[in-house]
């Protein structure tokens, strides 16, 4: 246990050398705190309407102004973090687990299973992920569960390809052969030996995919296929604000900034993790 803590500390030490990664990490920490403590931080109920101050600009009472329906934009951005992060996190978690299992099975068993799984993944990869997500939501209806499904299905192929290649590398190492010489079953070798040693690229990918997932969720929201109003969600709010962008830009700018920051935060962290977890990369 102690040694595991040490290795976390070591990774953080290497991560610290990359300034952008630290910035990304802090953005994400702030984002997560905001999402978790949204009810405590938000000054107003995100759905509370004060129609008299509709489209009012930023002021002390409403730091990010008021939207068309008289709702406090600041509170909605804070609550929106909760929605965006949860949906993206669940979607990425599902696709990471499913993609990793499929990809590692393909890589480890090879031959027919490999061909079947990877060709199906290729079919999914051929369709642009946002288009695939739109199609899924359009067919199944814009519910949160379908949104998660849409976003995760469109990222599964990426994870399976990465897991496959990582497992292919580990598969031929001698410690795997030693485990086979002991007589352990192939599944046990895959999940207890090969996979734990293939996690680095998958973790990095998960961080990078969080960024795309947030973008997909807000993208779908913007198109009206995502989270449905009045639930506060950045993309949905942005789409609503678009109509009044000329007279009240604040209602759209702030949700936009929130999307931008969270996407960039996960991207920075992902790139930093890639370097911190693969020290050899930097030497090249």
């Amino acid at each position: 246990m102690k040694s595991r803590l040490d290795s976390v500390r070591k990774i953080y030490g290497r991560l610290k050398k990359n300034r952008l990664a630290v910035v990304g990490l802090w953005i994400i920490i702030i984002l997560v705190i905001t999402a978790v403590f949204a009810p405590l931080i938000a000054p107003y109920d995100p759905n509370e309407q004060d129609l008299l101050s509709s489209l009012e600009g930023p002021s002390l009472a409403h730091p990010m102004g008021v939207d068309f329906f008289g709702r406090d934009v600041f509170s909605r951005v804070i609550w929106g973090a909760r929605v965006s992060l949860t949906i993206s996190l669940v979607a990425v978690a599902i696709s990471a687990v499913v993609g990793t299992i499929l990809g590692s099975l393909a890589g480890f068993y090879g031959s027919v299973l490999d061909e079947v799984i990877m060709r199906i993944m290729d079919v999914f990869l051929a369709i642009p992920s946002i288009l695939l997500a739109i199609a899924i939501v359009a067919v199944l209806g814009p519910r949160t569960s379908n949104l998660i499904l849409a976003v995760s299905v469109s990222t599964i192929p990426e994870f399976s390809r990465i897991a496959r290649s990582a497992v292919l590398v580990e598969k031929n190492k001698e410690y795997i052969e030693a485990a086979r010489a002991i007589g352990e079953s192939r599944l046990s070798i895959l999940f207890r030996y090969a996979l734990p040693n293939s996690m680095v690229p998958i973790i990095v990918q998960a961080s990078l995919r969080m960024a795309t997932a947030i973008l997909s969720v807000s993208g779908l929201g913007f198109l009206g296929l995502g989270v449905q109003p009045p639930t506060p969600e950045w993309g949905t709010d942005l789409s609503l604000a678009r109509t009044y962008l000329e007279i009240a830009p604040h209602a759209g700018i702030f949700p936009g900034i929130a999307i931008f920051l969270s996407v960039i935060g996960f991207n920075f962290l992902g790139d930093g993790l890639n370097e911190a977890l693969n020290p050899k990369l930097k030497d090249r």
């Binding site: 040694s3 190492k173 001698e174 410690y175 052969e177 030693a178 485990a179 086979r180 010489a181 002991i182 007589g183 352990e184 079953s185 030996y193 734990p196 040693n197």
Partner: protein, 323 residues
């Protein structure tokens, strides 16, 4: 009863080509008709250039590869065609130590986790506590300290890692251990320690060793009987001193001539040195595989692969010179 009898063992790897439909276009004959025997407490040395198939012999015997044909008779039972599930009881009798201790230990497992795997899997111990006791003993046996149990492989030096790999191999008290160049990745001083450890363990376990190496002095030191391989076939097999003092096959002579002599006054036996490269195992020369590099080749060598000629009960050579 012999511990191990290998009869006409063959291992061919298919070479596939094609985009949609993969066709087998050729075979790499890594091991081609190899036979030998190993007794308990004895060491059988296997030497040859890299790529001659000596590692494949070792890995096929412990059934990391499925043999193409031939018999692997372990204590009277042919295990060449057993399914993985049927092999389980034999896994405790056969173990392997690999060449590179950097890649042969799982980097994510502590010493304790790694060594408890075979013990628990084969039911040698029932509980973790029991396993820890056995592991502490094992670590002492291979010259490490019991408190090393919670460390990860990266916290050890190369020699210590090889000791761990040996501990893993002997944990199931095997009767036969394949040593696949166990010292070639180590410093010379560490090599000696590992060799001494292996010899001590052989006495303790009364285990048979298959010692695979290209280090000729080391093979001479370790082995009781030695076989020389060239392109998947054994070209000469003899008791240790017989082979090193009276080599017969031109290839054996060349190998011995190429080994450095640790005495500056002595001259190397340069007349037996050969040039050229090992031919490709996919497209081997006709007749005797060695004839393109052989000084003594005769017309028949280009046509037919020589059978094995037994000079006496223990010295065998596959060369027409000894017809």
């Amino acid at each position: 009863m012999k511990l191990l009898r290998v009869e006409n063992l063959k291992k061919y790897f298919p070479v596939r080509q094609g985009f949609f439909v993969q066709k087998i276009v050729a075979y790499i004959k890594a091991v081609d008709d190899v036979s030998f025997e190993v007794e308990r407490g004895k060491t059988f040395g296997l030497v040859g250039e890299s790529g001659c198939g000596k590692t494949t012999v070792g890995k096929t015997i412990i059934r990391l590869f499925d043999p193409t044909s031939g018999k692997i008779v372990l204590e009277g039972k042919d295990i060449a065609n057993l399914k993985p599930s049927e092999l389980k009881p034999y896994r405790t009798k056969l173990q392997i130590v690999f060449q590179d201790p950097m890649s042969s230990l799982n980097p994510r497992m502590t010493v304790g986790q790694m060594l408890s795997e075979p013990l628990l899997f084969h039911g040698i111990v029932k509980t973790r506590e029991e396993a820890n006791k056995v592991i502490a003993e094992l670590l002492k046996e291979v010259g490490l300290k019991p408190h090393h149990i919670d460390r990860y492989p990266h916290q050890f030096s190369g020699g210590q890692r090889q000791r761990l790999a040996i501990a893993r191999a002997i944990s199931v008290r095997p009767h036969l251990i394949v040593l696949d160049e166990p010292t070639s990745a180590l410093d010379v001083s560490v090599q000696a320690q590992i060799i001494n450890l292996l010899q001590r363990l052989q006495e303790e376990l009364n285990a048979g060793y298959i010692f695979i190496s290209h280090d000729l002095p080391l093979v001479r030191y370790m082995s009781d009987e030695v076989a020389v391989m060239y392109l998947g076939k054994i070209v000469e097999k003899a008791p240790r001193d017989e082979l090193f003092d009276h080599p017969l096959h031109p290839y054996t002579k060349a190998l011995l001539a190429a080994a450095p002599v640790p005495d500056p006054k002595k001259k190397r036996d340069r007349k037996n040195l050969i040039g050229g490269q090992v031919p490709s195992p996919i497209n081997r020369p006709s007749g005797c595989f060695f004839h393109p590099r052989c000084k003594f080749r005769m017309p028949i060598c280009e046509r037919e692969y020589p059978p094995t000629f037994a000079l006496d009960s223990s010295h065998e050579v596959a060369c027409y010179l000894y017809r």
